[in-house]
Symmetry: C2
Subunit: 386 residues, 2 copies
Amino acid sequence: MSDLIGHSVNAIDTPALVLDLDMMERNLRTMAAFAERHQVLLRPHAKMHKSAELAKLQIAAGAVGVCVQKTSEAEALVAGGVHNIFITNEVVALHKLTRIAALTRVLAPQGGKLAICVDSMEGIKRLADCMNDGRIASGITSAIDVFIEINVGQNRCGVEPGLPAIALALEIRKHPALNFAGLQAYHGGAQHMRSPTERQAAIVGAVKAVSDTRDLIEAQGMKVGLVTGAGTGTAPLEAASKLYGELQAGSYLFMDADYAANEQAVGQPRFKHALFVKTQVISVHAHHVVCDAGHKSHAIDSGLPKVHAFSSRSELDYSNGGDEHGILKPAAGSTRLPSLGSMLWLIPGHCDPTVNLHDMMIGVRGGLLKGIVERIIKVDGRGALT
Amino acid sequence: MSDLIGHSVNAIDTPALVLDLDMMERNLRTMAAFAERHQVLLRPHAKMHKSAELAKLQIAAGAVGVCVQKTSEAEALVAGGVHNIFITNEVVALHKLTRIAALTRVLAPQGGKLAICVDSMEGIKRLADCMNDGRIASGITSAIDVFIEINVGQNRCGVEPGLPAIALALEIRKHPALNFAGLQAYHGGAQHMRSPTERQAAIVGAVKAVSDTRDLIEAQGMKVGLVTGAGTGTAPLEAASKLYGELQAGSYLFMDADYAANEQAVGQPRFKHALFVKTQVISVHAHHVVCDAGHKSHAIDSGLPKVHAFSSRSELDYSNGGDEHGILKPAAGSTRLPSLGSMLWLIPGHCDPTVNLHDMMIGVRGGLLKGIVERIIKVDGRGALT
């Protein structure tokens, strides 16, 4: 694929995942400036792009590090030269915790850092055991930052706010290899509430619950160093909360159709679509055409892709044609159907699982119509599930 | 991952794609016997498993070859030693057609064969040009089997039945490198109609349209060598049609939750679930638990996975927890929640795009509870999109 570098976008075979580098860099700068203006740390979620190259770009632009969701994602990024990683998830399997402990010993001499979430006593004990076993076996002393995940309304992982969190903090304190670093408070359910009012109500609730929990823990003589969370949908709310010290938004870098469907609040930073699936018309009919991108090319968990329209006369609606096909019809107000072989650009409904379908992203400079392929960006953590 | 071979299923890290080899082989035999009994050829769709090893197993069990959907899938399977492949799709990009022509020249000296679909004059001309260019450049004479795809009700690709197909057949006849091999008549929309009556009505319609089209073409003095199509949902109908000479079913080998939800007709062969996502409980709550498999581990285009229940007391309902999580609650009539670290087995809603998320399938012998890892099966065509 590297033989594409320097060639026109027209040379890109379909379907392919294409990154508009100009738009991506614009999003990068917008979020970095936003975090700086609000005096909060930025730790973008790399589960979205799974790329060490992009993680390092984010860190160079001011991010303190990145988040991941999986042990194997952390390993892929460490191998790619990323040295400050937060696994924002619970890990309870002993062989995974052993790998995590090993990562902390790889990172420690480089000044790197690993962090992880817990939400149970058993999880803390297993983590501490594996960290200690690693110390004894290797002679290398390392520690891991531990965040207690609080359930702030998503009702997925996370301990309930208030008293249950205290017991966990006290347990963490018992183990020298575990640094109690603060509270993880991500409200996944709030990210795609369409109205700003709904999102605000959700985050107000989260802030109250986490703030009370923090006070209870600090009343036990323990410092809650950091409250961390937020996604692209709610980041302005957490940034303004005076509670959250770190934002974990990830999708802002690529901006997908689902996030674009959120009604924007005043003052919310605006991001541009930077991630596209390039596709081609392979079959033409009286009232529809068929393209070569189906849901093996883009994820549809958060809705079907939108077709990027270069003019209002050429708007198309995408409907699902199965694993390998998309069915395109003229949108209301449009009548024109593209011809056989025409190239089209899809804006994925959800960028994270779309990227995970591809081994590479093709980085284009100068736009989708006349751009040039500048570089190929590896999805280091593609399929990193464990 | 090959260090797992010989170990217990308990050693498999989560989430992971696991193939129950006993069930898979049972399905393999059931379908081979079914095709033989009905005196039809079997050409299973390898877009489902994308594995050269499994394609060769199917061929060893009596299949004439396999189908694929993409040029790059054909390349991956040829590289893995599969020599009889039908691309059941339209290909119009010149660089892809050039690769297809090259594949025919690789396969010809080995007695191998490639076939492809067309549904437009332009598509036929492009294919013929690329086949001829390749002959001239290489000096190697090769040909490709060409099937006219007929729209039998899916309204996706395929020329309309009747007169439009004649023009295509006449065009194919003009080109010495193209063998007119017959008609592709796959009714994707009928595969998951839940009632046997609906499926039967759809296939009766397809048979009528294709039979008429065949007669029209044969009236022009051209032989329609083969009518091919069918999926796991309708294969008994096409097999009994006396029109279809070849079945393209693929999912039967693994059997997913969506196909299992079809009401079965009398005499329809019964297939067993052979493909599972092994997952683990990472977070426990009062009324739900969370497992480590979300829609980056299994596709959800055809519904959420079912949780395999080893006893009726332990039935669980899976709800979507996002890219990396599943949320499990006791099913009606059950109250028991699994404990932290418990292993669970998910039956994917749709096997094709689920397999495409994984680089490997872990083949287990002896069942999910006490089985042993026998071999690791590579998904050769994972991410083969072009």
